[in-house]
């Protein structure tokens, strides 16, 4: 079945429309709705977004936006998207050990997804929580000042929920 907004996304979309004098501004928020619904942004979804916003917005414009911003997943990610900040302050706080642990524990390398599609591990640029490093963002939640042991337990507890 072709993609359409979920009920919740449709509600949010209706709320967004009057906020902008120019329809083009809806591209970024609509891509987030698409991603919220299905976990990533794909060609079919982008076609829908372009059509939904309507003339004069083209698929090319939507595609151009989706491929520029890193938060839009252009391919499916695991149920738990583990993003480990690797920039200066987190590095000084020991983020390399966190990445190593996550990869070892899950048996994957940076940028990969586990076979059961539960976890994707990625190293990311600054998450803007530099005094609380190392910082790991899992889906929408920040885990701050996380230790290797805490990460280990967290992954176990998430896996059991998965």
């Amino acid at each position: 079945m072709p993609y359409t907004f979920s009920t919740e996304s449709e509600k949010r979309f209706q709320k967004l429309v009057p906020q902008f004098p120019n329809k083009r501004s809806l591209i970024l928020p609509c891509l987030f709705l698409l991603q919220r619904d299905q976990g990533f942004v794909d060609h079919v979804g982008m076609e829908y977004v372009a059509k939904r916003i309507g003339d004069p917005i083209s698929l090319a414009q939507v595609h151009g936006v989706a491929t520029f911003y890193t938060m839009y997943n252009k391919k499916p990610v695991g149920k738990f998207h583990v993003q480990i900040c690797a920039n200066i302050s987190c590095y000084l706080a020991g983020s390399d050990g966190i990445t190593k642990k996550a990869c070892e524990k899950l048996g994957i390398q940076k940028g990969q997804t586990t076979k059961d599609k539960l976890f994707t591990v990625e190293e990311v640029q600054c998450l803007g929580a530099c005094g609380f490093g190392p910082v790991v963002q899992i889906n929408e939640k920040y885990h701050e000042k996380i230790t290797v042991e805490e990460l280990d337990q967290l992954l176990v507890s998430l896996a059991s929920k998965g």
């Binding site: 329809k23 970024l28 414009q61 936006v65 600054c126 530099c130 963002q137």
Partner: protein
């Protein structure tokens, strides 16, 4: 000089982020005054008197920025830049999550000053929690007549919406942020025209940082003259310094501008972690040229003092590096950041940042040569001084070259180590 709470006086209160909590400590009194008793000119003049300078990075005088907005029939837009993402910087998140109503109040006052009836709060997308809190605060403000039509019966209308970024540091540059808000890729625009003339939807636009807006209600409450007495003459007020790295007590401290950096590190933050020696300080976010320990000991935290050391106060992010820090590695991490975040419009930046990153990678792996260090120098000259639309390439140079110059021996040691291994082996 030292700790001084202006913005963060009541931040510890568990309900500081709610309308009731903010009103209980005098919140939204300044907006009533601004909308009912003051003209736009009076607001701008009060902010000019206060000497408030932008808290995002450039330190541009806020009152002047507002004053540039032409009095045309066109709609005028007011935008809050909450796209915090420069390594080391995490102070706006504190305000976003704990004092959203202070931000909203500051924005309403600013709106009246520039005759804007539509505002946007642009927050980096990773701050899901912060976005949620600000959205709730905006709803609360609407339902109690602080936003929307005829605010507090003053006859003034102001609509405000929250907009989520999507993972692009470059959108912290105001013209890239405007493009992003318009639903485009975050490409900085050529200036002029400046946003004050042609910004969002080709209309006059003011973009200010979260912390800048949060200062505005306090300026109106205490008066510009009183505010100006805080801090130094040319850098009035307080700043939220976000300290990270090798200190005992990392954190965000609201400090009077002009406070010695030495006091910030050794008194407020409890000194260097584990009693080690200080090696270097990056005083204003990753783009600010690194200071040696000797330089840091002479600096005071205001725009002028840090500029006199050929660095910048920037975003108020202070990164402390002890003797244990590997400056080749930290410099490589910073270069990687700029390579990752270059938007790709301008060749010197798109190519240069990656070259610099790759060369530093080679050096940290012990494969570098003297020629590589010279190559970074040559690349830097092509990346700086206006060869690009925005200053991202310059920022990369500022993050790398001073480290290479001031701590050259560390980089040379990495070159030599390889040779030593080779002769021994």
């Amino acid at each position: 000089m030292g700790l001084k709470k202006v913005l963060t006086t009541h931040i510890e209160k568990p309900d500081s982020h709610t309308l009731a909590g903010y009103k209980a400590v005098g919140g939204y009194t300044a907006v009533a005054k601004a909308l009912k008793d003051m003209t736009a000119e009076q607001i701008i003049s009060e902010v000019k008197t206060s000497g408030l300078r932008g808290r995002g990075g450039a330190g541009f005088p806020t009152g002047n920025k507002w004053g540039f907005i032409p009095k045309t029939e066109k709609p005028k837009y007011l935008v809050c830049n909450g796209d915090e993402g420069e390594p080391g910087t995490y102070k706006d998140r504190l305000l976003i999550e704990n004092l959203p109503h202070m931000l909203i109040e500051g924005m309403i006052i600013a709106a009246k000053a520039i005759d804007s009836h539509q505002g946007y709060i642009y927050i980096r997308g990773e701050f899901f929690k912060g976005i949620d809190i600000v959205e709730k605060a905006v709803e609360e403000a609407y339902s109690s007549g602080l936003l929307g039509k005829n605010i507090l019966g003053s006859g003034y209308d102001f609509e405000l919406a929250v907009y989520s970024g999507a993972g692009a540091y470059i959108c912290g540059e105001e013209s890239a942020l405007i493009n992003s808000l318009e639903g485009r890729r975050g490409h900085p625009r050529l200036k002029p025209p400046f946003p004050a003339v042609s910004g969002l939807y080709s209309c006059p636009t003011v973009v200010n940082n979260v912390e800048t807006f949060c200062n505005v209600p306090h300026i109106l409450n205490m008066g510009g003259e009183t505010y100006k007495k805080i801090g130094t003459e040319k850098s009035p007020g307080t700043r939220l310094f976000a300290v990270s790295g090798h200190v005992e007590k990392q954190g965000i401290y609201e400090v009077e501008l002009g406070t010695p950096l030495k006091d910030l590190i050794f008194e407020i933050c409890g000194g260097i972690k584990g009693g080690k020696a200080l090696k270097a300080v990056i005083p204003g976010g990753s783009s600010a040229p690194i200071l040696t320990a000797e330089e840091a000991m002479t600096a005071t935290m205001d725009f002028e003092s840090i500029a006199s050391l050929k660095s910048m106060l920037g975003s108020g992010a202070v990164i402390i590096l002890s003797e244990e820090a590997d400056l080749v590695e930290t410099t490589y991490r910073l270069a990687s950041f700029y390579a990752h975040e270059s938007c790709g419009q301008c060749t010197p930046c798109r190519e240069g940042t990656h070259w610099v990153k790759d060369i530093l990678h080679k050096i940290k792996d012990g494969e570098g040569t003297e020629e590589d260090l010279q190559l970074i120098g040559a690349l830097s000259r092509n990346m700086e001084g206006g060869t690009t639309i925005c200053p991202l390439a310059d920022a990369c140079v500022m993050a790398v070259r001073p480290a290479l110059t001031k701590f050259r021996s560390e980089f040379l040691a990495k070159l030599r180590s390889k040779k030593e291994v080779a002769t021994v082996g």
